[in-house]
Symmetry: C2
């Protein structure tokens, strides 16, 4: 996803601003992702109401990456454990 040229373009609203997302993903998946980010930014703003928009977005990216990297590690461990069993 992102702004690659020549792909399907979908406009989404995140933190009050429109973004054009282009990629091969389903429109429903793109909206799910955008809603997820919007929700995470809302939660972050509640905890830290004095952050500017950039800080809010960066710290939201940090929080999502924290969850992502933990999940990836957990998945690798589950796979290793499963491979050990077989």
């Amino acid at each position: 996803m992102g702004e690659e040229p020549g792909k399907r373009r979908t406009t989404v609203l995140i933190n009050g601003q429109n973004y054009v997302i282009s990629g091969k993903a389903d429109v429903s998946h793109i909206h799910e992702v955008a809603n997820f980010v919007d929700q995470k930014m809302k939660e972050m703003r509640k905890i830290n109401p004095y952050l500017d928009k950039t800080q809010l977005a960066v710290l939201t990216a940090v929080n999502i990456s924290d969850e992502y990297l933990r999940l990836r590690r957990q998945m690798e461990q589950e796979r290793k454990k499963r491979d050990g069993e077989n």
Copy 2:
């Protein structure tokens, strides 16, 4: 992670700006997460050099969330499959 009070505080550099991350996580995990976000922002800036800092951070959060939600779905499917086998 984020800016919760009363937790260990670690300063990280993301896209040329310092952020204080507080939480119970290991300092090494916090640095891994910060480096991951910084790297993703660099990749996004290469593709889209004309984005402002907020747009760059939001679209980076979108890309990471895309990966995260795909991984989460994949993990759920693997678990379901495994539970079906047992």
